[in-house]
Symmetry: C2
Subunit: 439 residues, 2 copies
């Protein structure tokens, strides 16, 4: 009989977990340094809560849970695994009218999508999100960009670009090209979003197929195709656009300046009028961060979604957020030179000679741990040689030998694996020595 | 339109999350201090992996995920949400023959069971597990008891009892009472497990209904009904039992002594020959920790399950582990006097006067954060009075006012919310002052 993992999922063994825990702890500390508050929501939501929020394609990728009990019909599903952390947040806001606004929360949890598994794409993956609800200020949009930027730098990344756009600019472009409904606007976005993949001519052809007239866009089209500097492009659009498009340009200009004041290096920020971001719910600025290695794809993305909470609950609440994709960040971390050089799990191994000296070894373990020394008491079946090898493989700096002599004398023979020094000391002196070495 | 949570699930809002994160961080630190290594597994497993491992009742409580794609028949489920962290570990061990033994891992993740929701019982709840695979040594069993005990003490608990038993003693008792198959042994256990709920006579009646002859147990039965001291009871059983029952008694005696040497207060440990623990997979010592408040129930439990990995994979591997139930521990923590006295989310609020001074306020926020001060930049729509009230409600110790004067002079007016002192300082001096106050 053989055993498998579900398709598209992974176990994280100790070495991988050490990298993950270090990354999560770092990101959490940055989120907390900005005054975001922690939130967690259940793994599954009611199907009604999830459906129709992300677009049709996404609805198909949802994992659905079969209804329980006798009244359930075959195939009847009432719950779905969460697809992102944004819709659950919108539900929390809708259900908790007494949360003080602006509500700033961080949330680091897994999400699930039944995508076709391929290299670097998984069916269970973690998102690290911050969102700000209850503020229309462009400072909130800028803070989402700044906190993502600060998290990436805290993780040690330097080579990345932050692309920004505003959905209202895209709305205006879509209208100029002939869109006359939200449905048609989304159709325009889907075509435009393929620019990276199928190029300008491909997008033009697809727009025509979808019933648009891209030639009506004139100079705008060439600006999208080969964007000049951010400032020049903002100026061009400001001169040409009107209505919501102009609002988008104004907001974007403010957000970019505010992010810079919050410490974001302006040379990293690039206005990209083709950036759409997938989800249907965005309404204002959108942003996406990608490393300079194109094979990895975007590592963070977000935007403003002022309508989503209202659609869920009738309670209108502006909101903006950003999501860091933990899996791609981990891929980049593991590719760095220092990967694999994680510290050992413990500082010290205490060997166990025989049943008679085991109690003394156990008591010594408690004393070392009380002093903050991570201590493994050997509980395998190996003899002394195997125990020393075990400590070696795990890279422990210290070994404490407690044989019958040591047990009866209340001493410990300490081996320093770096200096090969052996010393027999009272238990307390040994504890002090190892504990001092750790600092 | 209204919005709901799925039945039996909860959101954890910031105040609850602070208690949870503190508890999880504490438990993780204790697990690491014993040299356990981190592991995480996917939320769902193949149905084949989960089924038949926990008993019939449990199989019914599994959340099943509907198969995706066109080939799926209505009602066809191929995945299930994990029911505990033990079966996923057994699968990891079965799949990774190169893991070095003994393999000691910690795992803190949610699990799901579709139980009828009731007070204090949830359909999504967290378990904090340590397990040791690849060691038959009673030191491994004792270490599981010791690490659970150390975690409870690190959380500040003092009033709890650790009940211990050995499944082999129960096997022997079941045989003496007439059981002649594993099926019948489990039937005996299910009846005995109800002792707390239906009392001695109730259990006796149920045993007879299930076809056993409890009167064959003689003095053993009275020992179960009213256990004397642990030592006296071990002696009684040692004199009366034979075969695997005697092995159980011997092991239990060793485990209790070893746990004591590892720092477990012996007055907390009580041998309870009626303790069965639910899951079908236990084979040796079992243990359960309960607080002295009977309304809360057990907060930790575990035992030895030498057959489970073999049943999954054909690879025989002894294993023992313990699981701490986070939800009940949190209930106890929240009931303590100091609950609700969690610190504020940030140390400092920076007010924002107007668009003109916002960049200076943003730059100041970056400077405070760089010095390790958790800093909220106000991004709401409120005027100064509302901003001060916001800081008050959140309990921040400091407020930094940066108006037009401060912005042009590069200064900050610091308000200390405890002393009501106001001082205008250079930005760097202000950063130093708040940063020094935090230490």
């Amino acid at each position: 009989m053989s055993v498998f993992l579900p398709k598209g999922t992974r176990d994280f063994l100790p070495e991988q977990m050490q990298v993950r825990l270090r990354a999560i702890d770092t990101i959490r500390a940055v989120f907390e340094s900005f005054g975001f508050e922690p939130l967690e929501t259940p793994a599954f939501e009611r199907i009604e809560t999830l459906s129709g929020k992300y677009g049709e394609e996404a609805d198909k990728l949802m994992f659905r849970i079969h209804k329980r009990g006798r009244s359930a019909k075959p195939g009847e599903c009432d719950l779905g695994l969460r697809y992102d952390l944004t819709v659950p947040l919108a539900r929390v806001l809708a259900m908790n009218a007494d949360l003080r606004l602006p509500f700033k929360r961080w949330q680091i949890q897994p999400v699930w999508r039944a995508e076709r598994p391929q290299k670097g794409r998984f069916r269970e993956f973690w998102q690290c999100d911050v969102d700000i609800a209850g503020s229309r200020s462009p400072l909130a949009d800028a803070e989402c960009i700044a906190v993502a930027d600060a998290a990436l730098r805290a993780l040690g990344f330097e080579d990345y670009t932050i692309r920004v756009n505003d959905r209202r600019i895209l709305t205006e472009l879509a209208r100029e090209a002939g869109a006359s409904s939200l449905q048609e606007e989304l159709s325009f976005l889907i075509a435009l979003d393929k620019l990276d993949k199928i190029g300008l001519e491909g997008v033009e052809r697809e727009l025509v197929e979808r019933g648009f007239e891209p030639d009506k866009l004139g100079t705008l089209w060439s600006a999208i195709a080969a964007p000049p500097t951010t400032e020049a492009l903002l100026q061009t659009l400001q001169d040409v656009l009107s209505g919501v498009g102009l609002e988008g340009v104004d907001t974007l200009r403010t957000v970019i300046a505010a992010a810079e004041a919050m410490g974001v290096d302006p040379s990293r920020v690039r206005f990209d009028p083709s950036l759409a971001r997938g989800a249907d719910y965005y309404t204002g600025p959108v942003f996406e961060v990608a490393g300079d290695d194109p094979s990895v794809g975007s590592v963070a993305g977000g935007g403003r979604y002022d309508g989503l909470v209202g659609r869920l609950s009738g309670r209108e609440l502006p909101a903006v957020g950003v999501s860091l994709g933990l899996e791609r960040l981990i891929t980049l971390l593991e590719a760095r030179e220092d990967a694999g050089s994680m510290g050992p799990v413990a500082d010290l191994l205490i060997t166990v000679f025989d049943d008679g000296s085991a109690p003394a070894a156990s008591r010594a373990a408690t004393a070392f741990r009380a002093a903050g020394v991570k201590t493994e008491l050997y509980i395998g079946d190996g003899r002394l040689k195997a125990q020393l090898k075990h400590a070696d493989r795990r890279g422990y700096a210290w070994i404490a030998l407690i044989g019958p002599d040591e047990a009866s004398a209340g001493t410990v023979t300490l081996k320093n694996r770096r200096t090969w020094e052996n010393t027999t000391l009272d238990l307390q002196a040994a504890v002090n020595k190892v504990s001092a070495d750790r600092r």
